[in-house]
Amino acid sequence: MSAFRSFVVKEARHILRDRQTLAVLLALPVLMVLLFGYAIRTDVQDVRLVVVDASRDARSESLTRALAATPALRLVGVETTAAQVEPLLRRGDADVALVLPAGFARSLARGRAEVLVVSDGANANYSQTAQGYVRTVVGRWAAEATGAPVGVRVATRMRFNPTLASENLFVPGLLAFVLTLVSALMTAISIAREKETGTMEVLLVSPLRPVQIVVGKVAPYLALAFVNAVTALAVAALVFGVPVRGSLGLLLAASGVYVLVSLALGVLISSRVPDQRTAMMGALLGLLLPTLALSGFVFPIASMPGWLQPVTNVVPATWFILIARGVMLKGVGLAVLWKELLVLCGMAVALLAVGARSLHDRLE
């Protein structure tokens, strides 16, 4: 046991000695949550609109003014022929175009005007919503301008999130993403570096058992990763105003288990690669995009194809995001979230065991 204790102390010294790296480790999560909490949004605003107006009469100019006055739309140009639209969309200089026919005022007076809304459909939702904005303004304008009844009006209310703020949706996921990557990267190099510098031999002939080596590598980082979890949560709550409606204690406990899972994942990668550069490739290439794509952080799991949805269960972040959103936004407690927490605990134990196992295999 004393061998184990001195091993942990040695590991902690390694971390504390390198002040520069330590500062980076502590600053990184806060910086990333701050930076990307503002930037990761999917709300459709500032839609760039081009109006094709061949007639330039009082009616068409009145409609153009109504569109330009809409906050969500930005009029970037008024063209004269429909042929000018496609190059603008192709180049990405405009998102949507409204094509008014020649003799717009005349055909409107006869009740037979037809306009065309063309959008850059590459990003499907953005395109759909941008079209919706233009249609709404045109519809409202037409009702006023022609005096004809619009038929049926629609009053829309956005429930639970009236301002359509994306923070509440994305910040809990961002926490999960940042914490898992930073934690796994911390330990990914640990054993690989010992292999590269040759000190692994020393460890192997020591009386430490593989499981002790793995736990000893993780233990000092656990404190560091937990500090990161607390500061990242503080940024989420204080800067982005994400509420914590449920139990803070439960959230912190889940964060602790979650960073432990991530650290164990790092050790596992570390035990399976020959050197630091492959450890880095393995950790970043193996974790970054899968965590981003499969955890429900950015892309809703419910939108994914049916065969892919069960696959998201193997990503630890999926479970932590369920807990974080549940506790923070909905205020639910352990009675609802015990299963998610149990899965994370199981993952922690399993990953540590497999990490020790593969270290053991290397010994022989």
């Binding site: 520069q20 790296t21 990184l28 930076l35 930037a39 949004r41 999917t42 459709v44 605003q45 496609e86 190059p87 192709r90 005007a113 037809e114 306009v115 959008s119 850059d120 459909g121 590459a122 990003n123 499907a124 939702n125 953005y126 395109s127 919503t129 919706g132 709404t136 022609t146 004809a148 038929g151 049926v152 009053a155 829309t156 209310r157 956005m158 429930r159 999130n161 359509l164 703020a165 994306s166 990557l181 930073v182 190099i189 630091q276 550069r277 492959t278 880095m280 490739m281 393995g282 970043l284 970054l288 995009l289 899968p290 794509a293 499969l294 950015v298 892309f299 939108s303 994914m304 892919l308």
Partner: protein, 376 residues
């Protein structure tokens, strides 16, 4: 030239002789492109609707039928109670509530524009916006149709209800509203970036850590030759990765390429100089491979999240949009999507090429300045 060539040979050998490295360069990118591209979708395929029809008229039934006929909406709850409908939003039995007021058919017949109410679960604001747009389109279609004009004794209001203006819509490049082409291309750009920056950013740091940098420093190699020797092999590797990815996108996903792939390679040629230059710059700045890893992580995530790959640049706050303009991957993915999905050619891509070239020049210049042949 001979010096550079032997550096290139040495670098390629060092990377490719390692079995784990060879696997890492090939397997994760291909598997991730195949699997993750299909996970990256914001598609709102289906909305469960709670219906509060207080009118119970043929006209209101016809409106509801218009919603369900699109296949996008299903009535999961039908109730006369607004409270119960709201409750169903909470329990997620429904994602939207459509309320049709009493007197809907009467108002319609008299040409008095009745108002229906749509309440959306807006936890995911973007999805709610899409559902709203669909619903508005359906209601507008209903208003224009004969269905909205119930038998009317006078006949005059039916005349007046004829629309003064018809709005037609068209989504270019992607009429089916599919996410796979858009996201698969974004993912390919991400993977090429990830591999390119990862492989360069720890490179010099590693040579420094294991001591071989000093050996190189005492050879007559110039700084320019050194950087070129580090750049060329990974530039080639990046183009190989890109080609594999394009093959997957074209043939595994069956996504047709609208434009000329030549421009994709031209764009990638410039972009890889920028990305690898950034990687080499990181490598000259950091002291250890561990630091290289954390700085690389931060840089890559910043490039990806502020590059408009997964979420639109237009949705970002102003400062982030300005940062995105300086972001080479933003321009690279613009080139890829422009050429492959929209058929863009050189006339459309000048700005993107210029921005990428400027970034490449700056990154490589700084890397050259930072790398000194003296032991520090």
């Amino acid at each position: 030239m001979r010096t550079v060539l032997s550096m290139v040979r040495k670098e390629l050998t060092q990377v490719l002789r390692d079995r784990v490295m060879r696997i890492q360069l090939l397997v994760p990118p291909v598997v991730q492109l195949l699997v993750l591209a299909q996970a990256m979708t914001f598609e709102v395929a289906h909305t469960d609707l709670a219906l509060v029809d207080l009118d119970r008229s043929p006209a209101s039934a016809r409106l509801v039928e218009r919603f369900t006929a699109t296949g996008r909406f299903d009535v999961s709850v039908a109730t006369a109670s607004g409270d119960l409908a709201d409750q169903s939003l909470r329990t997620r039995e429904a994602n939207a509530v459509l309320s049709i007021p009493d007197g809907f058919a009467r108002d319609l017949a008299r040409g008095r524009a009745p108002q229906v109410q749509l309440v959306l679960n807006a936890e995911d604001g973007a999805a709610a916006g899409v559902v709203q747009a669909y619903a508005a389109q359906i209601v507008a279609g209903f208003s224009r149709s004969k269905a909205a004009r119930s038998p009317d004794p006078g006949g005059t209001s039916a005349e007046r209800a004829r629309p003064g203006l018809e709005v037609r819509t068209r989504a270019l490049y992607n009429p089916d509203g599919d996410y796979l082409p858009y996201m698969a291309i974004g993912l390919l750009a991400s993977l090429v970036t990830l591999v390119g920056i990862l492989i360069t950013s720890q490179n010099i740091a590693r040579e420094r850590e294991i001591g071989t940098l000093e050996q190189l420093n005492v050879t007559p190699i110039t700084r320019g030759q050194f950087i070129a020797g580090k750049l060329v092999p990974f530039w080639l590797l990046g183009l190989v990765e890109l080609t594999i990815g394009l093959v997957v996108i074209r043939w595994a996903f069956g996504i047709p390429f609208v434009g000329n792939v030549l421009w994709v390679y031209a764009g990638a040629g410039v972009y890889l100089l920028a990305a690898l230059g950034l990687g080499l710059l990181i490598s000259t700045v950091v002291a250890t491979q561990q630091q290289a890893m954390f700085v690389t992580f931060f840089v890559i995530v910043t490039l990806l999240f502020l590059g408009g790959i997964f979420t639109p640049v237009a949705s970002m706050p102003g400062w982030a949009q300005a940062v995105a303009e300086a972001n080479p991957i933003k321009h690279f993915v613009d080139v890829l999507r422009g050429v492959l999905l929209k058929g863009a050619g050189p006339a459309d891509l000048g700005g993107a090429f210029g921005a990428m070239a400027a970034f490449a020049g700056a990154a490589l210049g700084l890397a050259l300045l930072r790398y000194r042949k003296t032991a520090s």
